[in-house]
C-alpha cells in the first residue's frame, strides 16, 4: 500500500533540503555582502515616524547599522556595549526589525538610546535586502556607503577590537 510509503518520501524531501542547507552556511551571507554597496532604504524614524531615516544619512562617515528588536535576548546583552560605543563617538544607526513600536520606544527609554536614529522595518523587507538572519546583527558601513563588515550575534569589546576597529581608518573620536 502506497500510503505507508509517504513518511519515507517526506524524509527524503527533508533530507534534500538539509543537504542543500549544509552548503548554505548561514554565515555565508556575511562575506557575500562585504565590499558591496549597502542596500538603499528609506524608512520611518522610530521616534518620529513622520520623518524618514535613509541610507544617505549614513554617508560621509564610518557608521554602524545595528539590527535590533525588543524580543531579542542577545540584543539586551549587547546594549550596554552599544551605549559605550556611542559614548566614545561611534555613530550608530538602528534597524528596529520585526518589532512593535510601543515596546521599542519603551526599550530605548528604559535601557538608554545609543542610536542616532532607528529606522523602522516591521515587515522585515529591508532585513531581507541586508540578509538579516536574526537579531542582533551589526554592519559597519564606510563613508562611501560600502558594507565593510558584518557581525552576527551580539557585539562585544573583543569582537569590536578584532573585527571592526581595524577597518576604521583613523577618524577623530573613533577607536
Amino acid at each position: 500500500m502506497w500510503r505507508y510509503a509517504i513518511p519515507a518520501v517526506i524524509l527524503l524531501v527533508l533530507g534534500g533540503f538539509f543537504l542543500r542547507g549544509l552548503n548554505l552556511n548561514p554565515g555565508y551571507i556575511e562575506s557575500a555582502l562585504i565590499g558591496k554597496p549597502a542596500p538603499a532604504f528609506s524608512l520611518p524614524n522610530l521616534e518620529t515616524p513622520s520623518e524618514l531615516v535613509s541610507t544617505s544619512d549614513l554617508a560621509g562617515q564610518y557608521s554602524l547599522l545595528n539590527v535590533w528588536a525588543t524580543w531579542c535576548v542577545e540584543c539586551r546583552r549587547e546594549h550596554g556595549f552599544l551605549l559605550d560605543l556611542e559614548a566614545s563617538g561611534v555613530p550608530i544607526y538602528g534597524l528596529n526589525w520585526k518589532d512593535e513600536r510601543p515596546a521599542a520606544l519603551e526599550w530605548l527609554e528604559v535601557l538608554g538610546d545609543p542610536y542616532i536614529a532607528s529606522a523602522v522595518d516591521y515587515s522585515g523587507d529591508i532585513g531581507i535586502d541586508y540578509g538579516v538572519y536574526g537579531a542582533p546583527e551589526t554592519f559597519l558601513i564606510g563613508p562611501d556607503l560600502t558594507i565593510l563588515q558584518k557581525h552576527l550575534g551580539p557585539l562585544s569589546p573583543a569582537i569590536w577590537a578584532s573585527k571592526f576597529a581595524p577597518l576604521i581608518e583613523a577618524v577623530p573620536g573613533q577607536h
Binding site: L11, G15, F17, P26, G27, I29, G112, V132, G153
Partner: protein, 657 residues
C-alpha cells in the same frame, strides 16, 4: 599515554557495536541461535568500553591535561572541580561521547531487561540499537574525536563557557540526552516488530515502560533547560522557541503522542501501524535535533562549533537509520492488522484526537524551525521566525487538546454513553468556568478573553485529573486505582498546573526597568524595593558586582536579594546572575543590568505570578510518568499475567459509576 587508552577503548567499542548490529540481526534472519545469543554479550562489552573512554576523558579534565585539545578548549586550571566533571559535556566532542554512553547504558538495560521476551525479538531489538551505536561511535571517532592531542600542550585552558557554569546546566544536558537517546529503545522495538512481522499487545506492553522512561528524562531535561534560561539569561523568559529548544521539544511531543497511542495498542490491539510510525518519528526527531544543533544549518544561541563534514555525517546517519526504518515501514506496515473497532464516543477516539493534535503541533513547530532553511535553500532569501508565530500556531492545537483530555480521561474503552460523560463532568465544567472568570478579576483586577480561555483549559485539566482520585478516596468500597491510573491522573494534573502557570505568568507579568542609585527606593507590583548598595565579590574564577536589594511589602520586610553581574577571568563576557525571591504563588526576579555611570545602575525587576507552576507542573508530569512506568503489569512475566485477571484495570469510568 592515558588519553590514547580512551581512544583505543572507543575503537573497541565501535568493533563491538558492529558485532552487536550484524550477528543478532543476521542470526534472527537465518534462525541461528548462537549468533542471536551474541547480542547481550556484545552490548555489555560495548558499554564497558564506552564507559572506559568516558572515564578517561573525565580523568583528563580532572588532571588539567591541556595536551588534549578538547580539554584545552573547554576547561581551565581554575575551574571548580564540579564543573570539570560537567565540562566533559561542555562541547561537541565530549557531549557526543556522553550521548554514546547514554545509548550504551540504555542498551545494557534493554539487554538485561528483555530476558522474558522471545530470543528472536530481543536480539533484533539489540541489533537495531547496535546499528545506532555503531553510527554514533563512528561519528565520534571519525569527525569529532575528543582525544585529539594538542602538541605541545597548552599552558592553561580556554575555560568552560561561563553560561554553562551553573548547577542546572550541569544536570540539564545529561538528563536531556538520557531522554533523547532513550527514544532509540521504542524505535528499536518498532523496527524489530516490523522485521518480525508480528506486533501484538505484548509488544506494546514491553515498549511502553521504556518509552515512558525516556519521556520522563526528556520532560525533566527540558524543564531544567527552561529553568536555567529563566534565571541565567537574566531576562526572565522561560521559553524562547529557539531552534535548539524546539529540537528537544519536538521529540517530547512525539513521545507524548506515542505513550498515548501505545496505551490504545496495549489495551485494544489497534492503531498498530500508527504506533510504529510514531516510535520511528520520535527517535528520528531526536536525530534531526542533533543534526540541526551540530551541523550549523540553523543559527541558535546553543549552536556548537559547526563543521560541514560533521553535518554531512549526521545527515547520512539520519537518512540511513530513519530512512531505513521508514522504507521497512512502507513494505511491512500494511501487514499489521487491527484486532477490533471502536465507537465514536470512546476513549480510543479521544486518544486518536490527542495523537492527531500532538502531531499537528509537532509539524507546526518543525515547520517554523525549518522555514528559514527552506526559504534559504530555495533561494528566496533569509528570514527568521519569531515567537509570535510559534505561540499562535502551538496554542491552536493545544486548547482543544486540553478540552479533550478531560473528556478522554473519564471515557470508557470501546464505547461511552455521551450522557454519562456529561453527567460526570458537568460540575467540573461549571466550576472551571466560574474559577477561570473570577480568579483573575479577584486576584489581579483585570482579565482578557485569552486569559480566560487559557485558565479555563488549565483548571479544567487540573480538576478533571483530581476528581477521580478524590472521589475514590472518600468511597471505601470503590476499586483501588492501579499505579498506572494514578500515573495518568498525576501526569495530567501536572499538565493542568503547567497551563495555569504559563497563562497567569504571561497575562499578569509586571516588568520594570529602572536606573537607580544606592539608597533609592521604588515600587513594583505592590512591593517596595530599595537598592542598598553594591559590593565586589570574588568567586573561584570570576569577579562580580553584587547588588543588595531589600524587598518590602506594606512596610514589612520580605527578603534581601543579591543579584550579580559576573566577569569571568578567562572568557571575559559579562554574565548576569539574577536573584529570585521564590514563593509558590509568585517570583520577584531582580537582575542587575549595566552601570550607567555616576553610580547609577540599570536594574530589572519582574513580578511573575504563578510562574513556579510551570516547573512544578513538569515535575508532577514526570512523577506521573514514573508511577505509570512502574505499574505492576510491566514488572511481571507474561505467564503469570495471563493467569491473573487484571482487576481494576477497566476504564476508570466503568469502575466507579
Amino acid at each position: 599515554m592515558i588519553p590514547e587508552i580512551g581512544q583505543f577503548a572507543l575503537v573497541l567499542a565501535v568493533c563491538l557495536s558492529i558485532c552487536q548490529a550484524v550477528f543478532p540481526l543476521a542470526g534472527a534472519a537465518t534462525g541461528r541461535n548462537d549468533w542471536m545469543m551474541l547480542a547481550r554479550s556484545a552490548a555489555t562489552g560495548q558499554f564497558v568500553f564506552v564507559a572506559i573512554a568516558y572515564v578517561v576523558l573525565t580523568y583528563a579534565f580532572l588532571n588539567d591535561d591541556f595536551s588534549v585539545l578538547f580539554v584545552a578548549n573547554h576547561s581551565n586550571s581554575q575551574l571548580p572541580v564540579a564543573y570539570k566533571f560537567a565540562a566533559v559535556w561542555g562541547g561537541h566532542e565530549g557531549s557526543l561521547l556522553l550521548w554514546s554512553l547514554m545509548l550504551a547504558l540504555w542498551t545494557l538495560a534493554v539487554a538485561h531487561g528483555s530476558r522474558s521476551q522471545p530470543l528472536e525479538f530481543s536480539s533484533r531489538v539489540l541489533g537495531v540499537l547496535g546499528i545506532v551505536s555503531a553510527g554514533v561511535l563512528l561519528f565520534t571517532l571519525l569527525t569529532s574525536n575528543p582525544f585529539d592531542r594538542l602538541l605541545p600542550g597548552a599552558i592553561d585552558g580556554a575555560d568552560l563557557n561561563p553560561l554553562l557554569q551553573d548547577p542546572a546546566m550541569v544536570a540539564h544536558p545529561p538528563m536531556l540526552y538520557v531522554g533523547y537517546v532513550g527514544l532509540a529503545v521504542p524505535f528499536a522495538f518498532a523496527v524489530a516488530a516490523l522485521l518480525t512481522g508480528k506486533l501484538d499487545k505484548n509488544w506494546a506492553r514491553w515498549t511502553r515502560p521504556w518509552t515512558i522512561g525516556a519521556w520522563i528524562f526528556l520532560t525533566g531535561g527540558i524543564a531544567l533547560g527552561s529553568w536555567w534560561a529563566y534565571y541565567e539569561l537574566g531576562w526572565g523568559g522561560w521559553w524562547f522557541w529557539d531552534p535548539v529548544e524546539n529540537a528537544s521539544f519536538m521529540p517530547w511531543l512525539m513521545a507524548t503522542a506515542l505513550i498515548h497511542s501505545l496505551a490504545v495498542t496495549e489495551r485494544r490491539g489497534i492503531f498498530k501501524s500508527w504506533t510504529v510510525l510514531l516510535a520511528i518519528a520520535a527517535f528520528s526527531l531526536s536525530l534531526l535535533g542533533t543534526f540541526l544543533v551540530r551541523s550549523g544549518v540553523l543559527i541558535s544561541v546553543h549552536a556548537f562549533a559547526s563543521d560541514p563534514t560533521r553535518g554531512l555525517f549526521i545527515l547520512m546517519l539520519l537518512l540511513v537509520i530513519s530512512g531505513g526504518a521508514l522504507v521497512l515501514y512502507a513494505f511491512r506496515a500494511g501487514n499489521l492488522e487491527s484486532e477490533g473497532g471502536f465507537k465514536l464516543v470512546s476513549r480510543e477516539s479521544f486518544l486518536l484526537a490527542n495523537n492527531i493534535l500532538l502531531v499537528v503541533a509537532t509539524i507546526a513547530v518543525l515547520f517554523g524551525t525549518l522555514y528559514p532553511l527552506f526559504l534559504d535553500a530555495m533561494g528566496l532569501g533569509q528570514i527568521s521566525v519569531g515567537p509570535p508565530y510559534f505561540n499562535m500556531i502551538f496554542l491552536l492545537p493545544m486548547l482543544p487538546l486540553a478540552l479533550l483530555l478531560g473528556l478522554g480521561m473519564h471515557s470508557a474503552w470501546q464505547k461511552m454513553v455521551p450522557g454519562a460523560l456529561f453527567s460526570r463532568l458537568r460540575w467540573i465544567g461549571i466550576a472551571t468556568l466560574v474559577v477561570a472568570i473570577a480568579y483573575p478579576l479577584v486576584s489581579f483586577g483585570s482579565t482578557s478573553v485569552l486569559t480566560i480561555i487559557g485558565l479555563a483549559a488549565g483548571i479544567w485539566v487540573t480538576l478533571s485529573s483530581l476528581i477521580e482520585p478524590i472521589s475514590r478516596w472518600f468511597n471505601s468500597r470503590a476499586v483501588r486505582l492501579t499505579r498506572a491510573q494514578w500515573g495518568m491522573f498525576i501526569a495530567h494534573l501536572g499538565v493542568g498546573m503547567f497551563i495555569v502557570g504559563a497563562t497567569v505568568t504571561s497575562a499578569f507579568n509586571i516588568e520594570s526597568e529602572e536606573a537607580v542609585r544606592s539608597g533609592e527606593r521604588w515600587e513594583v507590583a505592590g512591593y517596595e524595593i530599595e537598592f542598598r548598595g553594591l559590593s565586589q565579590v570574588e568567586g573561584p574564577n570570576f569577579m562580580a558586582d553584587e547588588g543588595e536589594f531589600e524587598l518590602r511589602r506594606d512596610g514589612e520586610f520580605v527578603a534581601t536579594l543579591r543579584p550579580q553581574q559576573r566577569q569571568y577571568l578567562v572568557q571575559t563576557n559579562p554574565m548576569t546572575e539574577a536573584a529570585i525571591d521564590d514563593r509558590w504563588y509568585r517570583h520577584i526576579f531582580v537582575a542587575l543590568g549595566d552601570p550607567l555611570g555616576d553610580g547609577a545602575w540599570s536594574v530589572r525587576v519582574q513580578y511573575k505570578p504563578m510562574i513556579s507552576f510551570i516547573w512544578w507542573g513538569c515535575i508532577v508530569m514526570a512523577l506521573g510518568g514514573l508511577l505509570a512506568a512502574t505499574d505492576q503489569r510491566y514488572r511481571e512475566p507474561v505467564k503469570q499475567r495471563k493467569e491473573r485477571k487484571s482487576p481494576g484495570n477497566a476504564a476508570v469510568a466503568q469502575g466507579s459509576t
